[in-house]
């Protein structure tokens, strides 16, 4: 066919023409502008409005930022320097307050010579959660994860080195009993006996044991009072501690809510809905005002611990709902397959259901954590020094820094933004990764 064609036409081109660049209006920056900014009258209008908005904001705030003063000892000095440099009526940021007080924003009133302890705790946090969050971290590090909470508490609050060791020993004792007895007695009996022995140990043995060991071989770190905690140290301690403690409780509550047993389900639902139905602030008031009513007379313990307990309850209720979503998202076949293999309830949960459900829930857990971390600022209302209001109010109480509002807001807001933004990006990347896994 092509033969006849070739004979009937006088000239057939047998080489390709070199490619031509697209017309000027159809390529490059011009085309991009036309498509993305000026594709219609509405878009053009929106673009112009956007440009106007950015222009106003920049014109308003840029001079203030540029006139910033880092080297001053009071807000008055700042203002004099700005007036001297930029003339009467000029405004500028007084970053000097950040330079002078940054340690209070970060560490609160923690003794400066001991700053290495919170810093070390913070760095070790990444070693502890690394194996859980990133696949490229060596799995060997996972043994460190269960040790970390005890180590962190000891590093932050100090005190006798025997305390965390012996408390950890109690958990090891319970776990050992569970492991030894479970082949002979079955997991339920073994768990009950292990838990019982561990509780007895905590109630009656651990206190005298620590005192005795401390008397024989004293070692430890200088102890730091809870009242010295503040700023981001407090926020991160409460946030991380709350999430860590609330994870097990949240898993139990989620399983309870999915349970076939009406009583267990009922209690779980009541707990979850009650906690989720009230503002965190009321729970914090419970921690600061009411907890003393609910405990035996004469009990009085640390405000941070009290707040942490209530924050844990609060986070647990939310995490339970996140994990319940994960459990519900698992195909029914997974449960049936576990049953078909003859696994009992706990084995099925541990080996088949929870690993998958938790994996699906990690993004939700991360966003719960972001929410919790933001909510830790509310502890200012029970008298703790959070970085957002507690510390700035304290700094403003100093006559030198009276009336300084925007610089602390910007500094603290920026740190919150960076931390939370990083976490939310992580959770999004995780979501994408998990999505690929499932398909």
């Amino acid at each position: 066919m092509s033969d006849t064609q070739a004979h009937s036409v006088a000239y057939v081109r047998d080489t390709m023409l070199p490619q031509q660049p697209a017309p000027a209006g159809q390529s490059g920056a011009v085309q991009w502008l036309r498509e993305n900014l000026f594709s219609g009258w509405l878009n053009t209008l929106l673009t112009l409005l956007g440009v106007a908005l950015i222009y106003t904001l920049v014109m308003h705030f840029l001079p203030w930022f540029l006139h910033g003063v880092w080297d001053a000892n009071s807000i008055k000095e700042c203002r004099t320097i700005i007036t001297d440099r930029y003339g009467e009526g000029a405004t500028g940021a007084c970053w000097a307050v950040i330079r002078e007080r940054w340690h209070q924003f970060i560490f609160g009133f923690y003794p400066p010579e001991l700053y290495w302890r919170p810093i070390l705790t913070f760095l070790l946090l990444f070693v502890a959660v690394g194996p859980l969050l990133f696949t490229w971290v060596p799995r060997v590090l996972a043994w460190f994860t269960p040790v970390y909470p005890f180590l962190a508490v000891w590093l932050l609050w100090g005190g006798s080195g025997w305390t965390p060791l012996m408390i950890f020993a109690g958990f090891v004792l319970g776990a050992a009993i569970l492991l030894v007895l479970s082949p002979r007695l079955g997991s339920i009996m073994a768990f009950s006996i292990g838990a019982f022995v561990a509780i007895l140990y905590f109630l009656f043995v651990v206190g005298p044991l620590i005192d005795g060991l401390q008397a024989i071989l004293p070692w430890g770190l200088e102890s730091v009072d809870s009242a010295k905690f503040g700023g981001f140290l407090l926020a991160i301690t409460l946030g991380v501690g709350g999430i860590m403690m609330s994870l097990p409780l949240g898993i139990v509550l989620a399983l309870g809510r999915q349970s076939d047993m009406p009583l267990v389900k009922g209690f779980s639902v009541v707990f979850i809905e009650f906690i989720r139905g009230v503002p965190l602030i009321t729970l914090l008031f419970v921690a600061s005002l009411l907890l003393n009513y609910f405990l035996p007379p004469g009990t009085n313990f640390d405000i941070i611990l009290r707040v942490m307990i209530l924050v844990t309850f609060f986070a647990a209720a939310y995490i339970a709902e996140v994990i319940r979503g994960g459990l519900a998202a698992l195909p029914r076949g997974q449960y049936e397959a576990a049953d078909a293999l003859g696994l009992d309830y706990w084995k099925a949960q541990r080996l088949i259901i929870l690993p998958q459900a938790l994996k699906i829930s990690i993004p939700g857990i991360v966003s719960t954590f972001i929410g919790m971390f933001k909510d830790t600022t509310l502890v200012v209302f029970v008298g703790l020094f959070d970085p957002l209001k507690g510390i700035p109010d304290f700094i403003r109480a100093d006559f030198n820094w009276k009336g300084i509002y925007w610089e602390p807001f910007i500094f603290v807001g920026a740190i919150f933004f960076i931390l939370n933004f990083a976490m939310s990006r992580y959770s999004m990347s995780l979501e994408r990764r998990l999505q690929r896994d499932n398909h």
Binding site: N36, L263, F267, T282, V286, Y293, V412, F416, S424
Partner: protein, 420 residues
Amino acid sequence: MTSAPDAPEQGFRLSQLIYDTRYRSLTIQAIVFILVMGGAAWLVDNVIQNLNDLGKDFNFSFLGQRAGYDIGNAIIPYNNDMSHGRALLVGLINTLWVSFLGCVAATIIGIFVGVLRLSKNWLVARLMTVYVEVFRNIPVLLWILVAIALLTDVAPSPNAYKVNQQTGEAQASMLLDSVAFTNRYTAIPSVHFDRSLGSLDTALAPISLNFLALVIVLIASIWVNKRMLTHAAKVQESTGVRPTMWWKSALVLIAPVVILAIALGINPEEPQIKGFNFTGGTNVSNSFVALWLGLSLYTAAFIAEIVRAGILAISKGQTEAAFALGLRANRTMSLVILPQALRVIIPPLISQYLNLTKNSSLAIAVGYLELRGTLGGITLNQTGRELEAITLMMLIYLAISLSISGVMNVYNNRVKLKER
């Protein structure tokens, strides 16, 4: 024919309680029940003992006592001679009011931002992304504090709005000539009726009959409109032709209310500076404005994401299918896209409303007296009844939350996909 051998007859053994799945759940439930009840009993016992030690009792009679403090933002009539119970009620209404206005504003801003974030306009989409990320990742407390600092520190005093006699101009000018932000309050226009029908005195608050009449007329118009639409649907079913309804609907919905409002002599009253203060309009306290702004802007960022996700969740095939069926663009939107998108949007939206309502307790940061400020704040401090006040406050918040989620459940069941 074979028959299965009977299971060996055995008496009930105690170990069956643990090892037999028929009884195990009963055992576990019994143990859980005993543990929970034991724990509760322990707590209650501690409370009784602690109350005894302190010489206190547990009763709510303090709600009947004289409150003795003023509430600057009371919506229903209140003075400091009234009871703590009345103060509680004022606080509760303030909570609901700021939450309601916050939800409305957050929804409007959120829808705008969510839709604009999907816009093809690069600049606008980026700007909206920045807005969402900045507001979502910073605690709401900061936004409330920023708002109050803006209002008290940066806004001019009411005096600045006064026209200077010599120069003939004022230092500050009002927004759209009707809203003035000052460092003490925000002056906004109010609605005024020339002819009043009087007011109805109820135990809660006097209700303006003008307002009541407008509401009744509006409800009646909506009902009539609904009847007309049902009728139109009937006509369409029997004849195949739908009568033109839009102008009739508009007439029925708008005309009666407008006519009544004009008959009552409605006119906006704009705030005027007189002496050192604004009179005429309504002066809204800055604490309220700051709380409302902070909550709305923060929640709007979350709502924007929900709206965006809802729109993205509807596949393009739905639009194409609707076009293939010959539906016009607006009908595609109202009949195909929106009903499906709303099913995705509404549940998380309502849970954001819930969050906003709970976050309104942050009023403590700006000193706006809502439920936490009255019952959980001044009343608690004056009467020293922490246990009663906090319990009652939690129960009220719980009741609000549960009723909102109840509404959500009803909605979810109504729009649930009907599957096999």
